[in-house]
Assembly symmetry: C2
């Protein structure tokens, strides 16, 4: 089979020396990649600079990206060149990217100026509408302040929505066995399965691996693999999750 | 000599899976540490999880921190236990830490409610004061939204000032030969020296290593070492900078 795996975590630049990073060691993605490789499959592996990845070998193509935008471009580029039998989308992708960063002083100065100009102050509805317009304009037109004054006590960072990567995978590669991932924090098993099923249906996945950050540590990594029929299989460690995914994908592919 | 080195880059948590990270590979700090160790000095080396560091050896004490707050605690703890002959503060430290994260909707709802309540809308001064009060209250009292609604197009991240680490080093360790670092982006050599001297005077450093991100790549790392008399020495690579710092610190210590 020809497999695409995404793993690691994207980061979004704030400026030249700072960024917002989604933490992911890439260790689960590495295990999944190694399992597919050792079963003789070809793997295109898209990952991020800090993440671990499978060792170089002839059946492995490595692609490195940093931001969600770069991930989107790299995937669209691959979809032009290759048809994948399966896509395992385990990368932790930023839902939001940076729009601008302002000191509190600059933000309030701009906001007050537009509110006064708009005479937006007569009632709550008018004020609310004026605030949306004003914050929209500030976000879209004001660039990062080159030099934040040293007296600044507070910064406001504007973040705007990134493209939803998982939403475009089925459309781009209708033939692929598609595995999505969902990480939640501190929820019940029922809630985890409910949200995982929602992700599966919404993005037309074949499987979703749902997991909870509070059930992940050095020794264990609990994961629930949900299929289209709502059946679930559970695993207790990263190697078990990797094996579960590889087996399920291979089986699904054979049945097609 | 008994040496303290800070290296790497701090990061500030946004939530369980995201943080704001100051990029620093720690490669220069590692070289400085290795040079001091090979000259027979004791080194306490404070660094961050992603950064490279000198290999373990008997004269090296490694301390790992993530946030600026943790750095402050770790240093104050060390200053209780040890007297340092020199402090090399090369870590890239976040000036700001995360206060709260809100969807645009929640932010505007809270802001509009307080502005209307305050009847703050009569003139620009009253409005500006009300905006400061309101944003201050939102920043300090509203917690991260547990679940950002999926329709949210924009987030606002509030950041507040961190303690200035370099400002407390001289006060805590008056006897130490103190080396500060300043990284700028795309400035002239004159500006780099001017800002570097400002940092030196303000924080009572013995030396400041000033460098420009645009003059740093895989092959070169231009750096200017400024001393109290305003003399400058330049280096072209990380090993040269490390050697310059180690020589200058040793010489300064001998002359005391």
């Amino acid at each position: 089979m020809n497999i695409l795996i995404t793993a690691g975590g994207t980061s979004e630049k704030i400026d030249n020396v700072r960024s917002i990073t989604n933490h992911s060691t890439g260790r689960l993605g590495k295990l999944i990649g190694e399992s597919f490789l050792s079963n003789g499959h070809h793997v295109t592996y898209v990952t991020t600079p800090q993440a671990v990845r499978p060792a170089t070998e002839p059946h492995l193509t490595l692609i490195e990206i940093e931001t969600t935008k770069e991930l989107e471009s790299a995937l669209l580029d691959q979809f032009q060149k290759q048809t994948f039998d399966s896509i395992i989308h385990s990368m932790a992708v930023s839902d939001f990217t940076t729009e601008t960063t302002l000191s509190e002083d600059t933000f309030i100065e701009k906001l007050a100026a537009t509110l006064i100009k708009d005479q937006a102050l007569s009632d709550l509805t008018t004020l609310t509408e004026a605030l949306y317009r004003s914050i929209d304009e500030i976000g879209q037109t004001i660039q990062n302040e080159k030099k934040i004054p040293s007296g600044t006590d507070r910064l406001l960072l504007f973040l705007k929505k990134n493209p939803k990567i998982i939403a475009m995978l089925r459309e781009q590669q209708p033939q692929a066995v598609l595995v999505g991932f969902k990480l939640l924090v501190g929820v019940s098993k029922e809630e985890l399965i409910r949200v995982g099923k929602g992700i599966l249906v919404k993005n037309d996945c074949d499987f979703v691996l749902a997991n909870d950050l509070e059930e992940i540590n050095d020794k264990q990594h609990k994961g629930i693999l949900i299929d289209r029929d709502g059946h679930t299989q559970t695993a207790e460690t990263k190697p078990e999750i990797a094996q579960l995914i590889v087996n399920s994908v291979e089986e699904k592919w054979r049945d097609r």
